[in-house]
C-alpha cells in the first residue's frame, strides 16, 4: 500500500492545463523523482499535493494519503497536515525565507504551530535542527537573518524548517537548481540522509536526469503535464524508452560529460514545449524524431513495458 497515491491529478488554468491526468504513487522511505523540462508542470503538481495551487488554478483528481483524499479535505484540516505530515522546500532559497525574521524564529514557528512547543523549547529544537542539516555554529546562526547566509546555507535552513515536525512526505522542488554545482551534491546527500534517518518519503523534483541515477528509487518523466514514462533509474538511464526521455538524457551535462568535451556541446531537444499546446494527439509529436502519422491524432496511452515500467509511446519498444 502506497503512502501517497496520486490519481488522475489535473491542474487547469484558463490559459493552459498545466497538469493533465497525472497518476503516480510514493511509498514509505522511497525517493520518487519527477523529471521534466521547465514548464512541464512539476511545481504545480507539488503545489497541488500541498493544496497551495494559486488562483485561478483548478485542481481535480484524487490524492490519497493516510486514508483520506487530500483534495477533498476542508482547508482547516489541510492546514493541520501542511508542514506537519507533508512539507515542501522550494527552488529559490534566496527569496523563500522571510527577510525580516531570524531563521530561528522561522523554524520555531513551525514547531510552535504543530507541536505546541514553548518559545524556549522551540528555539532549542531549532538549534538542534540547524545542527542536523550541518550548519556550523548553530547556537549563533539561529539568530541570523537570511541575508547573511549563502544560497546553500539558506537551502539547508529551508530543509531544517521542512523536517522540523518529522513529515512523512517531503517534496523538494528543484532544491539545487539555484545552487553552485559544488553545493548541489552536498544538499542532495543531506536530503538523502535525512530521508533514511527519518523514514520520510521524498519527492525529488528536477529537470536534470543526471541526479536521478544516484538519488532516486523511481523516476516519473513528465512532459506538458503528462507522465510519459515511469521506470527505475538504472533501467531508464541505460535504455530510455520514450523519445523525450532519450532527449533529456542527451541533454544532461552530468551524464554526457565525455560527449560534452568531445563534441563541445550537448544534444538539445529541438523545438519547445509550447508546441504541445492544442495538440490533439501526442503532446511530444511536434518535436519527436520517431513520429508516425497516427501520433498527431491519437493520444498515446501508457503501456506496461516489463516490470514497473510504463511508457506513453506506441513506437517505443
Amino acid at each position: 500500500m502506497a503512502l501517497l497515491d496520486v490519481h488522475d491529478l489535473t491542474v487547469a488554468f484558463p490559459s493552459v492545463t498545466a497538469v493533465a491526468g497525472l497518476s503516480f504513487s510514493v511509498h514509505e522511505s522511497e525517493t520518487l523523482a519527477l523529471v521534466g523540462e521547465s514548464g512541464s508542470g512539476k511545481s504545480l503538481t507539488a503545489l497541488a499535493l500541498m493544496g497551495l495551487v494559486p488562483r485561478p488554478g483548478r485542481v481535480s483528481g484524487a490524492v490519497h494519503f493516510g486514508g483520506q483524499d487530500l483534495l477533498a479535505l476542508p482547508e482547516a484540516r489541510m492546514r493541520q497536515l501542511r508542514g506537519r505530515d507533508i512539507a515542501m522546500i522550494f527552488q529559490e532559497p534566496m527569496t523563500s525565507l522571510n527577510p525580516v525574521l531570524t531563521i530561528g524564529r522561522q523554524i520555531a514557528e513551525t514547531l510552535r504551530l504543530h507541536e505546541g512547543l514553548s518559545a524556549r523549547a522551540a528555539r532549542l529544537r531549532a538549534i538542534e535542527l540547524l545542527d542536523l542539516v550541518r550548519i556550523a555554529d548553530p547556537g549563533r546562526q539561529v539568530d541570523s537573518h537570511a541575508h547573511r547566509l549563502s544560497g546553500g546555507m539558506r537551502q539547508r535552513v529551508m530543509i531544517a524548517m521542512a523536517i522540523a515536525c518529522n513529515p512523512r512526505v517531503l517534496i523538494a522542488d528543484e532544491p539545487t537548481t539555484a545552487l553552485d554545482v559544488t553545493i548541489q551534491a552536498q544538499v542532495l546527500d543531506l536530503l538523502d540522509r535525512l530521508r533514511r534517518d527519518l523514514g520520510m518519503a521524498l519527492i525529488l523534483i528536477t529537470h536534470d536526469l543526471g541526479v536521478v541515477g544516484q538519488w532516486a528509487d523511481r523516476v516519473v518523466v513528465m512532459y506538458a503535464g503528462r507522465k510519459v514514462e515511469e521506470a527505475d533509474p538504472i533501467g531508464l538511464l541505460r535504455r530510455p524508452l520514450h523519445p523525450y526521455s532519450r532527449g533529456l538524457l542527451g541533454a544532461s551535462p552530468r551524464l554526457q560529460a565525455r560527449a560534452h568535451y568531445r563534441l563541445g556541446r550537448l544534444a538539445e531537444i529541438p523545438g519547445s514545449m509550447a508546441s504541445a499546446l492544442g495538440q490533439a494527439g501526442c503532446p511530444f509529436a511536434p518535436r519527436c524524431d520517431v513520429r508516425q502519422d497516427k501520433c498527431d491524432s491519437v493520444a498515446p496511452a501508457l503501456r506496461e513495458m516489463g516490470e514497473a515500467r510504463l511508457v506513453a509511446c506506441p513506437v517505443a519498444a
Partner: protein, 329 residues
C-alpha cells in the same frame, strides 16, 4: 550584529548628519524672510493709528532691524550659540518662552494625529489587502480617495458643523473648557475631548495615504516566495498576513510616516487656526501676519529639528524592522 548595536549606530550617524542641515535651513529661512515686504516696525507703527516716518525708524532701531543683513544673521547665530532665539518685538518676551508655551499643544495634536493615522491607516490597509478586489476593499478605497482629495480645513469645518453645532457632542475649538478649574485625569479627559475634532481632521488625509500604501505593500509582499513558504508551514491566512506579510509591508509605510512629519506641521497651521488650538501653527500664522520674524524663525528652526528627529526616529525604527539595513548603512 545585535539589534541594539544596529540601533545605536543608526542614531549616532543621524545626529551627526543633522547639524549641517539644520544650520543651512536656518540661514536660508533667515534670508528668505527678508524678502517679505515690510517688517515688525511697519506693522506696529501702523497699529498706532497715525504713524510717522520718525516712529517707524525709532521702532526699527529699537529692535535692531536697521543693522545690515549679514550683521543681523551673525547676531542671530551668536544668540543661537547661547541657546537663545532672540526676542519677539510684538510680545516683548523671549521667543523661546513663547514657543515653549505653544509647543506642547502642537506636539500633542501632531502625535495624536500621526498615531491615529498610522494605526487606523495600517489596519484599514490590511483589511483592504485581505479583501482585495471585493466590495469591502472597493468601499474603503472610495472613502479613502475622498479623504485624500478633500482639504483638511473643509473636513474640519464639516466636523464642527456635525459634531459640535448639530449634535453638540464635542467642543468646536480651544484646548480646555473655559471657566472650569480641573486637574489630573479630569483635565486630561477635557483636553482629549477638545482634541478629537482637530486630530481627526488633521489625520484623515494621512489615514487615507497609509491605508493605500499598506494595501499596495501587502499585496506585493503576499506574492513573494517567503509568503508561500509561510503558507506551506500550515499557518492560517491571518498568521501569514500579520506575521509575515504585514511585517514586511510596514517598512515602506514607516518610511512615508517620517517624510510626513513636515507635512503634518504644515497641516497643523490650518487645523489650529480653524479650531483655535493654541499651538505653534497658529502662532506661526499670527507671527507671519505681524512680521514677527524672530518668532517665525524660531518656529521654523524648531520644525526642522522636529522633522530631523522624526526621520531619525524612522531610521531607528527601520534598523529594528529591517535587519538588512546594517549592510547598506
Amino acid at each position: 550584529m545585535s539589534t541594539w548595536r544596529r540601533v545605536t549606530r543608526t542614531a549616532r550617524r543621524t545626529a551627526l548628519q543633522a547639524v549641517p542641515s539644520v544650520l543651512a535651513i536656518l540661514a536660508l529661512n533667515f534670508l528668505l524672510l527678508q524678502l517679505a515686504p515690510g517688517d515688525a516696525a511697519d506693522v506696529m507703527a501702523a497699529q498706532t493709528g497715525s504713524p510717522t516716518a520718525q516712529t517707524v525708524l525709532e521702532l526699527r532701531s529699537r529692535f535692531g532691524l536697521d543693522a545690515p543683513l549679514l550683521d543681523r544673521l551673525a547676531a542671530y547665530l551668536d544668540n543661537l550659540a547661547h541657546f537663545s532665539l532672540g526676542m519677539s518685538p510684538r510680545f516683548n518676551v523671549s521667543v523661546l518662552s513663547l514657543i515653549g508655551e505653544r509647543l506642547p499643544g502642537t506636539l500633542a495634536l501632531m502625535l495624536t494625529a500621526l498615531g491615529i493615522a498610522l494605526v487606523v491607516g495600517i489596519a484599514l490597509g490590511a483589511v483592504m489587502a485581505r479583501f482585495a478586489g471585493r466590495p469591502l476593499d472597493r468601499a474603503i478605497s472610495v472613502i479613502s480617495l475622498c479623504c485624500y482629495s478633500i482639504p483638511g480645513f473643509w473636513i474640519g469645518l464639516m466636523l464642527v458643523v456635525v459634531f459640535s453645532v448639530k449634535l453638540d457632542w464635542l467642543p468646536s475649538g480651544g484646548m480646555h473648557s473655559v471657566g472650569i478649574e480641573e486637574s489630573g485625569l479630569a483635565a486630561l479627559l477635557d483636553m482629549a475631548r477638545h482634541m478629537v475634532l482637530p486630530a481627526a481632521s488633521l489625520s484623515l488625509f494621512f489615514v487615507a495615504i497609509y491605508a493605500r500604501l499598506t494595501r499596495a505593500a501587502m499585496l506585493e509582499a503576499q506574492e513573494q516566495d517567503f509568503a508561500r513558504t509561510a503558507r506551506a508551514k500550515g499557518l492560517s491566512p491571518s498568521a501569514v498576513a500579520i506575521r509575515h506579510v504585514l511585517r514586511n509591508a510596514l517598512i515602506p509605510v514607516t518610511t512615508m510616516a517620517g517624510v510626513h512629519v513636515g507635512a503634518l506641521l504644515g497641516g497643523s497651521v490650518v487645523v489650529e487656526t480653524v479650531f483655535s488650538w493654541p499651538g505653534l501653527g497658529r502662532l506661526a500664522f499670527e507671527s507671519m501676519m505681524n512680521r514677527d520674524f524672530n518668532v517665525l524663525l524660531g518656529i521654523l528652526f524648531l520644525s526642522s529639528l522636529l522633522v530631523i528627529v522624526a526621520n531619525a526616529g524612522v531610521d531607528i525604527l527601520h534598523s529594528w524592522l529591517d535587519p538588512r539595513i546594517e549592510d547598506v548603512g
